[in-house]
Amino acid sequence: MSDSARLDGTRLLRAYRQMKLIREFEERLHVEIATGEIPGFTHLYAGQEAVAVGVCEQLGDADYIVSTHRGHGHCIAKGCDVGGMMKEIYGRRDGLCHGKGGSMHIADIDKGMLGANAIVGGGPPLAVGAAIACKLRGGGHVSVAFGGDGSANQGTVFEAMNMAVVLQVPAIFVFENNGYSEHTGCDYAVGSKDLTARARGFGLVAECVDGADFHAVYDAMGRAVERARAGGGPSAIEARITRFYGHFEGDPQKYRARDEVARHRETMDCLKRFRERMRAGGELAEAQLDAVDAEVLALIERIVADAKAAPPPVEADLYTDVYIHY
């Protein structure tokens, strides 16, 4: 029996809620960013929710993840406080990072979330380190590096994969292949055109899954986590997925076929797919899911209002937390 077949209604409902929460968080940001009130630049995760949630539902607080510039989904899936996240994105003083990091640097160490990362390829070496800690402590915990198809061409990522194999640490490399790095297609930038095979070349156990299918991601992750917890070493998972928006907010997406996103919204929407599956299997009733939708929308409403009302940092904050002691 696959892992996902063992998920009860409560767990399924939670997974759905997590995906829905990410989706609405991002959809709302898409609207709010257009107003100009949100500083900096922001990369939305909408469309990729089943990856973050499928992966993180296999993890606990003592497992680690490292994330990317497109990190909101990973943060939420790993349990970061969404109110704190929204405030951080608005640059508020009581944001998760006190307004110092912003969208691309959200972290919550206590939740095992070792940070979004604005440097493509910055995270995977860190994940190997966290995996070293897991292995040394012997508690059976694991460490996950999220990365995009584009990041998979960065030298640091290759080094991390090789080192994880050499040290046989419980690290799992999750490549979210959404087809693009910025405005360049994955088919162009990945010479071999096959991330999974390339990862296998490094000696990793690797598989490729449909990233819009929560169950598929969850099960693949289950296999990787089980192997890692048992001392079987690192793995890679490539999740084929799409992003519903541009690379960053404001991207005119001229590199995409006119109907690409619309088509993907039809066929690759993890929420729709999840609902259909529940309908078919009967594990969850429509009404339960609708109730989650309503609750999530209300929550987003509230955290956006809170974030807008929250005060910005004060000048004195500029100087704190550079060092613990100096």
């Binding site: 960065q154 930038a189 590199y255 000048e315 550079v322």
Partner: protein, 337 residues
């Protein structure tokens, strides 16, 4: 003369030099964009800041090369192509990304000629967008001119306006040594008069942006327009300043600065990077030595604090030395004797 943004001036320089010399190539992430996309449209990007727009349709994919996210390979390829006789212009997007390709810059490209006993030339230009002011956070906002200036073998360019940007970029491409070309991203939209024809601005010659008698102010890149504002405000009170824009930090035109300080006796250096081992310190130390005895007040360094660049607008504004801090520093050096 046409008014043009710094972005367009840089773009024009690239067009003109690629036209003039077929050895000039451009490479980097999304310098054109659209490769491998589903729309079939190339030039979906033209550079994330739009500086390389129009090059692909004009010069083709052999000379305008989109790359994977592999900065070491990008910069290294530029270096290797230069050793092999081309004149590559590599784009690093954000200057903060030097971290993932620093070796190729500081151990390879910068040192070839020396290590090889003068037998090689490596005419590479590495363009990068630097600077704070757009709330891009700690890993996308740094000003790295001190890091680059410290490296023997590199030349370092820091234009503050559209005219200089075009002339300096053409000079950089024609220069036979490796050049790090730092474009402040907040200056891309800054407009100025720019001649249509190609021209060069020489390295190592500072521009005297304002003339005055009481204080010498040296400012870099975006700090130049900020210093202009501070100085113009003070001029109304009869306080006048020399404003010097070095334009290149390696080589740096110390002579012009020292000469000015010998007249004014007072110096304010405005630098957008943190204070330790900074360009501000570099200039201050050299001037303090060369103009010793002529200084009527300690040199003031106006820099951000020793912290990363914060994200929140309120913090970033406090971080970047703006006109009020520059004005205060000028008043301060005038008060001390």
């Amino acid at each position: 003369m046409p008014q043009m943004t710094m972005r367009d001036a840089l773009n024009q320089a690239l067009h003109q030099e690629m036209e003039r010399d077929e050895r000039v190539i451009v490479l980097g992430e999304d310098v054109s964009g659209g490769a491998g996309g589903t729309s079939g449209e190339r030039e979906a990007s033209g550079g994330i800041f739009g500086v390389t727009k129009g090059l692909l349709p004009r010069f083709g994919a052999g000379r305008v090369i989109d790359t994977p996210i592999s900065e070491s390979a990008i910069v290294g390829a530029a270096g290797g192509a230069a050793l092999a006789g081309l004149r590559p212009v590599a784009e690093l997007m954000f200057a903060d990304f030097v971290g993932v390709c620093m070796d190729q810059i500081y151990n390879q490209i910068a040192k070839f000629r020396y290590m090889f006993g003068g037998k090689s030339r490596c005419p590479v230009v590495i363009r990068m967008a630097m600077g704070a002011g757009m709330n891009m956070g700690p890993q996308h906002s740094q000003s790295i001119y001190a890091l680059m200036t410290a490296v023997p073998g590199l030349k370092v360019v820091v234009p503050s306006n559209a005219y200089d940007a075009k002339g300096l970029l053409i000079e950089a491409i024609r220069d036979d040594d490796p050049v790090v070309f730092l474009e402040h991203k907040a200056l891309y939209p800054r407009k100025g008069e720019v001649p249509e024809k190609p021209y060069t601005v020489p390295f190592g010659e500072a521009a005297l942006v304002r003339e005055g008698e009481h204080v010498t102010v040296v400012a870099i890149a975006r700090m130049v327009p900020f210093a202009e504002r501070a100085i113009d405000a003070l001029a109304k009170e009869g306080i006048t300043c020399d404003l010097i824009d070095p334009r290149t930090t390696s080589p740096l035109d110390f002579d012009t600065i020292v000469e000015s300080v010998e007249g004014t006796g007072r110096l304010v250096v405005v630098d957008e990077s943190p204070p330790r081992c900074s360009l501000a310190a570099d200039i201050a130390a050299t001037v303090a030595e060369r103009a010793f005895g002529r200084l009527k007040a300690p040199i003031a360094q106006v820099t951000p604090p020793h912290t990363p660049v914060p994200f929140a607008p309120a913090l970033e504004r406090a971080y970047v030395p703006g006109p009020p801090r520059i004005e205060a520093a000028i008043r301060h050096v005038l008060k001390v004797s």
